[in-house]
């Protein structure tokens, strides 16, 4: 009984191994990946034939025309044809190269499911000379000429798939012999190799396309930079919008309620003058607290996003800022048209923090803020007549240094730069340059 069960066990395991082997060897024959790869390489064969023929023939014709001109053959009519061919050749070739490239890209996308992006848009050059000076065109031509190799490999893949049929045909036509047996075994081997070969060729095709039709390393970096810059600008704008939303919510909610609370307490104070002293005092304290909370919320909102910036723009916001500064501030704003809201917000906070820094650390008696719009650049200069010696500090060991570091980060968030010129003894000049398009 025990032996029998062991026997079954062994059988089962042997069967399992056999079935696994079957799956491993024959499975790929009807796997989706194999068929997809086969479809892809056959499509590659088709497009590569057209592409190589077109690009090659035009290229050869152009070369032949030049050669004929150089060797000085033929009558005036021939020469005219050759000259025309030499001039028109590059244009037609360019059409062919770009047309076939588009065809290959769409083939790769639809059949192989591989999206190969074109290079960055800034790389586009004017027709018909520009593209010939660009490495992109030459890489494409290289691809089209090499792709016939992929085409040849695709033919081999097709032969592998069809090998059994060929073997059967051979058996039917020819007499059974040792050669026939060998060819039968060979055919089966080829059939089993077909899925692997198809996938290998498909991968090679993809890799070749990616390296020659896709963006070059520089282009890829440029593309990446473009997308990073875009996403960062979006984040900055989103943060800005979020701050505005919070400001609005606080204004419509907490602030109004606090005013109402303070007002009610004020009315109670004014009305209930005959209540016991402790009650009066409690009301008075609550009243004071409410007013304190109100001014704290107001300061918080000002630090978050001053409403005047929305309503009246940078100049008005800065004039309020200068007016509230604890030291005299001369303000000089010259910007004919407003900058983007997020840039204006950054400019506002740079001035705000710079003035706070001046008031806290510079021992200055006056400051000057100058904002000028210079083409696509918003230039901000905050000058003080203080002690100088300000150094940005990333370690956070000095409060003023951390503040300056924060200014630099703010400027960098919109791709701007910030420099600090602060010799010992002063004066300190903080200059920020922020790019602005609108």
């Amino acid at each position: 009984m025990r032996g029998l069960s062991l026997y079954f066990c062994v059988m089962t395991s042997a069967e399992l191994t056999a079935s696994r082997l079957m799956t491993a060897v024959a499975g790929p024959l009807w796997s989706r990946a194999a068929w997809r790869a086969t479809k892809s390489v056959l499509a590659a064969l088709f497009v590569a034939t057209i592409g190589t023929a077109l690009v090659g023939v035009i290229g050869v014709a152009w070369g032949a025309a030049i050669f004929s001109l150089a060797t000085g053959a033929g009558n005036i009519g021939h020469i005219a044809v050759y000259v025309a061919a030499v001039i028109v050749g590059p244009v037609v070739e360019l059409w062919a190269v770009q047309g076939v490239t588009a065809l290959q890209r769409s083939r790769l996308r639809t059949v192989a499911g591989t999206d190969i992006s074109a290079g960055s848009r800034t790389e586009r050059k004017p027709w018909p000379i520009g593209p010939w000076l660009s490495a992109t065109t030459w890489r494409q031509i290289a691809f089209h000429l090499l792709s016939i190799g992929i085409g040849a490999a695709a033919v081999v893949v097709a032969i592998c798939w069809l090998a059994p049929a060929l073997a059967i045909a051979y058996l039917i036509v020819g007499a059974p012999s040792a050669a026939a047996t060998v060819s039968c075994i060979g055919a089966v081997a080829l059939l089993f190799a077909a899925p692997w070969l198809a996938q290998f060729v498909a991968r090679a095709d993809e890799r070749l396309a990616r390296s020659l039709l896709g963006p070059s390393h520089t282009e890829e970096l440029a593309l990446r930079l473009e997308s990073l810059a875009k996403s960062r600008a979006e984040i900055v704008a989103a943060t800005d919008a979020e701050r505005r939303r919070i400001e609005r919510d606080l204004h419509d909610g907490a602030q109004q309620r606090l005013v109402s609370l303070a007002m009610n307490l004020g009315m109670a104070m004014a009305r209930f003058t005959d209540v016991p002293e402790p009650v009066q005092q409690a009301i008075a304290e609550a009243h004071e607290d409410a007013l304190l909370a109100l001014s704290e919320v107001r300061e918080f909102i000002r630090g978050l996003h001053p409403a005047v910036l929305n309503d009246r723009g940078l100049k008005a916001a800065l004039s309020g800022l200068a007016a509230r500064a604890p030291l005299p501030v001369r303000l000089n704003v010259d910007m004919p048209q407003p900058a983007a809201p997020s840039v204006e917000a950054v400019a506002y906070f740079i001035v705000s923090e710079a003035l706070t820094n001046v008031a806290k650390h510079a021992q200055a008696t006056q400051a000057e803020v100058a904002v000028t719009r210079d083409g696509d650049l918003l230039r901000i200069a905050v000058t003080d007549n203080g002690a100088g010696g300000a150094v940005p500090d990333g370690t956070g060991s000095s409060e003023s240094g951390t503040g300056l570091r924060g200014l630099m980060q703010r400027a960098a968030s919109v791709d701007g730069t910030l420099t600090i010129d602060s010799p010992p003894g002063g004066p300190t000049v903080i200059t920020a340059e922020l790019p602005c398009e609108s």
């Binding site: 005013v259 007013l291 004039s319 309020g320």
Partner: protein
Amino acid sequence: MRIVIAEDSVLLRDGLTRLLSDGEFEVVAAVPDAEQLLKAVAEHQPDLAVIDVRMPPGFTDEGIKAALVIRRQYPDVALLVLSQYVEESYATDLLTEATSSVGYLLKDRVAHVNDFLDAVRRVAAGGTALDPDVVAQLLVRRKDDPMSRLTPREQQVLRLMAEGRSNGGIVELLKVSPSAVEKYVTNIFMKLDLPPTGTDHRRVLAVLKYLGT
């Protein structure tokens, strides 16, 4: 005295209505936006309009704009503008067009009920009521004008005048004698080259000169 209130927050609109009614003013209309404010002013011809700066639909400076329209169309209506934050640029706009019967206060000031009611009366009587915050902001801006001729004490007196205080009020605040205040005021008029007309008018002119509008 008949008053129209424009304030978009229901809470504050009701609160202000209660506050002013308790102060024995008659609130003839309380509306939530600038458009209805202009209608209410046209309909009721009030003595004074209490106006919130930030109202629908844009929630920016609708109140200031409406105040300026009212001043042009109904010059007899006194204007008291309230805001969660005072900004020098709004004050300048307001004072460029409205030189008397005008006030611009932080909303917090309504919590000091008696002071606020005083300000309402003052503005309705043709005076000014500017928030100390506004005055401070406006003061910082001007440094190189006739103001420099004033002594610090005179500047202080002028500042209180700008807030809308009477001589009596200034006496109380600075703890000086009435004759001293009168002397300061006369000096201010003289130093600012103000024409010898009625004192009230000169007061307003002094304030405006001070504010540089």
